[in-house]
């Protein structure tokens, strides 16, 4: 009885091995995709912490613009099973000056998020279920701006093609976490430095929703590339949002004890 069972097990595992052998020999699109993403992730490992100023220019269908100015501090968490911690502090528009946002990113679970409202000096734990909702009325959703972690997506390599002056690998990424607003993202990684150059976002119905283009990449500490200009176009509404980063600083000495609920209530 036990022998029969064991034999079935052995036989079936042989069957599985022989089936997957030809795929292994040729590297499947998902394995190739995962390898490219792994390389992209590895090249950003060890940045420690960073801070940057961000100007967010929102443009509606009629070309009317409004601007938000904020500062973002990010602390890298070396454990790949937890996401990075970040603190976002608004300085413009002036009516939300001092409003701040503390986020502990998770991989597949909802992030932990607290909002600080300076007029009441109140810290509120907020629901982070709303990953697909717009961030301060922009074309960037919370999930677009939250920490990009390797394990958040499943990857599939589609093809290699030219992207501007560079050569790119094109990957299809599907969110592995719940409540995403996307069925898939098509992401262009340049093969020179494994930087994201462009992302097409497809909505829950599978229609093209948005395109994000990354430009003005600069390298820090001879290793870490950061785009200083990110331009998101919503194809369905005609609205656009441009992010312009400045004053990037790395390894500023930011600690976990600086990114706490208590410190959030003391920010300006």
């Amino acid at each position: 009885m036990l022998n029969t069972h064991l034999r079935t097990l052995i036989l079936s595992s042989i069957a599985v091995t022989s089936l997957s052998l030809p795929v292994l020999a040729n590297t499947s699109p998902s394995e190739k995709g995962a390898e490219i993403a792994k390389e992209w992730d590895a090249r950003d490992k060890g940045f420690g912490d960073s801070s940057a100023n961000l100007e967010m220019v929102l443009e509606n269908r009629h070309g009317e613009k409004s601007t938000r100015v904020l500062r973002i501090k990010t602390l890298e968490m070396p454990d790949t099973n937890v996401g990075d911690k970040s603190l976002t502090i608004f300085s413009k528009p002036r009516d939300i000056k001092g409003t701040a946002f503390l986020s502990f990113a998770q991989i597949l679970e909802p992030d932990d998020q607290w909002l600080y409202l300076p007029a009441l000096k109140r810290v509120k734990k907020i629901s982070s279920k709303n990953k697909s909702g717009p961030f301060v009325g922009s074309e960037f959703s919370y999930e677009d701006l939250s920490a990009q972690e390797l394990k958040k997506y499943n990857y599939k390599w589609l093809n290699d093609e030219a992207c501007g002056e560079l050569q790119c690998s094109v990957l299809e990424q599907t969110p592995a976490y719940e409540n995403s607003g996307y069925t898939k993202m098509i992401v262009w990684y340049d093969t020179a430095e494994y930087r994201q150059q462009k992302i097409d976002y497809y909505d829950r119905k599978g229609a093209l929703l948005k395109t994000l283009k990354f430009t003005e990449y600069r390298q820090y500490l001879s290793k870490f590339w950061r785009a200083h200009n990110m331009y998101m176009v919503n194809h369905q509404t005609g609205k656009k949002t441009r992010l312009v980063y400045s004053d990037y600083a790395f390894q500023t000495g930011l600690k976990g004890s600086d990114l706490t609920k208590r410190k959030l209530s003391k920010v300006r």
Partner: protein, 409 residues
């Protein structure tokens, strides 16, 4: 003026940072930010006032100014904040007032922080009553929701650890609550005369008040435990007759001990909230509880707007010798709409409903940004069915809409 202020602040920085080495780096990254707003408020009262002496006008315009200076150095580890506030109300002298909301020095250490000076602190989680929030006095002439606070002088030390935050307060001076004057709407039947204030303590407003708070985040739970010992922020009122034969109310501030707990559990779209106090010093010892939930339907309005439904209950076990409250046995039902648009449009509407007397107090708040500097706010307050025993009975004819246009800079 900014240059003068800058030198004054550098002077302060010099005193605080006595060590020359620290001082040199301190100067290198000084940063002064000036901001604030000026707003025009108009209250539109639908009915004539119920009480004699109250201004008869249906329109009550007033002007509000709040300025803010943030001066920081040591890469933000040291900071001085100064926030003066003023309102000019041509119809009520008592509502025309100024206050220093904040004037303090703050130091942020690795796992500790220290604030010395006038500051504002909020505790709690519920939306319709702020039961455990006790550090700051209410600026009672500003609004009926009790969310406007007077600056509180304090020394506040916060210690962060792996087991939670330990927060200590010493408050050397008590701030009296503000009340509308004879001409003002939304007041008690007799005017509160703040020149006749009584204190239980012989030290009067100099009684040193102390508070301790322990706050911890445990998974999806945010928990706060606190104790306050000192002058109650709520007054009892003693009717007195003035030399001119007029009846006024003299506020009496007692010494109380209050222990509190506030908890929020955050599970996906659900926020579960509970606040509770145990107070000694106001008649018989009593317990009060506020609790409830907020559930959000994300993306329920248009493509991106969120609709939140809020339900909270309030119980308060205080006896008739304690300061009166409207939240003795009440239910709050409301909703919140957040459109998540460029204009940050929000609505909050609800009713506080006394389950025993059926008294209802309706409230609606809406905000919208007009452009990068201008905002529009509207607040509606409607009082309905208050019996003569209700603290809001005297405001029964004071239903109003307040409209605000604010310019932020």
């Amino acid at each position: 003026m900014p240059r003068l202020l800058r030198s004054a602040m550098v002077g302060a920085a010099l005193i605080i940072n006595a060590v020359p080495a620290t001082f040199n780096t301190a100067l290198a990254d000084m940063n002064l930010d000036f901001s604030g707003f000026i707003a025009g408020d108009t209250r539109i009262f639908t009915e004539s006032p119920a009480l004699s002496g109250q201004n008869n006008a249906h329109l009550n315009p007033s002007t509000v100014v709040q300025l803010e200076w943030n001066f920081e150095w040591n890469e933000g580890a040291d900071r001085i904040d100064f926030i003066p506030f003023a309102r000019i109300d041509p119809q009520d002298d008592s509502r025309t007032h100024a206050d220093i909301r904040e004037l303090n020095y703050l130091h942020l250490g690795d796992d500790w922080d220290l604030t010395i000076g006038i500051d504002k602190v909020f505790w709690g989680v519920t939306e319709s009553r702020h039961l455990v929030d006790i550090i700051n006095q209410t600026d009672g002439v500003e609004d009926t929701d009790g969310e406007d606070k007077l600056g509180q002088p304090m020394i506040n030390l916060g210690l962060q650890s792996d087991y939670g935050d330990f927060i200590f307060f010493a408050m050397p001076y008590f701030r009296e609550r503000t009340f509308p004057g004879t001409d003002g709407r939304l007041r008690s039947p007799f005017v509160v005369d703040t020149d006749r204030t009584y204190y239980e303590s012989d030290l009067e407003e100099f009684h040193p008040d102390l508070a301790f708070r322990y706050a911890v985040v445990a998974g999806d739970w945010d928990i706060g435990l606190a104790h306050f010992y000192g002058t109650s922020r709520e007054a009892r009122f003693i009717p007195e007759v003035t030399g001119g034969g007029k009846t006024v109310l003299a506020p009496q501030y007692d010494i109380i001990n209050q222990s509190s707990i506030d908890v929020q559990a955050t599970y996906d779209e659900w926020l579960w909230k509970l606040e509770s106090i145990y107070r000694q010093g106001h008649g018989d010892d009593f317990v009060a509880v506020s609790g409830g939930l907020e559930y959000t339907f994300f993306g329920a309005i248009g493509d991106n707007g969120d609709l939140g439904v809020i339900a909270e209950f309030h119980y308060d076990g205080r006896d008739s010798t304690a300061p009166a409250t409207i939240f003795d046995n009440d239910l709050f039902l409301g909703f919140r709409a957040t459109l998540n648009d460029e204009a940050d449009t929000t609505f909050l509407a609800g009713v506080i409903w006394d389950t025993k007397t059926q008294a209802q107090s309706y409230t609606m708040e809406a905000t919208k940004r007009i452009n990068d500097n201008l905002t529009f706010e509207a607040e509606l307050r409607v009082f309905s069915n208050q019996p003569a025993t209700d603290p809001l009975y005297s405001a029964r004819d004071d239903d109003h809409l307040q409209v605000r246009i604010a310019y932020y800079f």
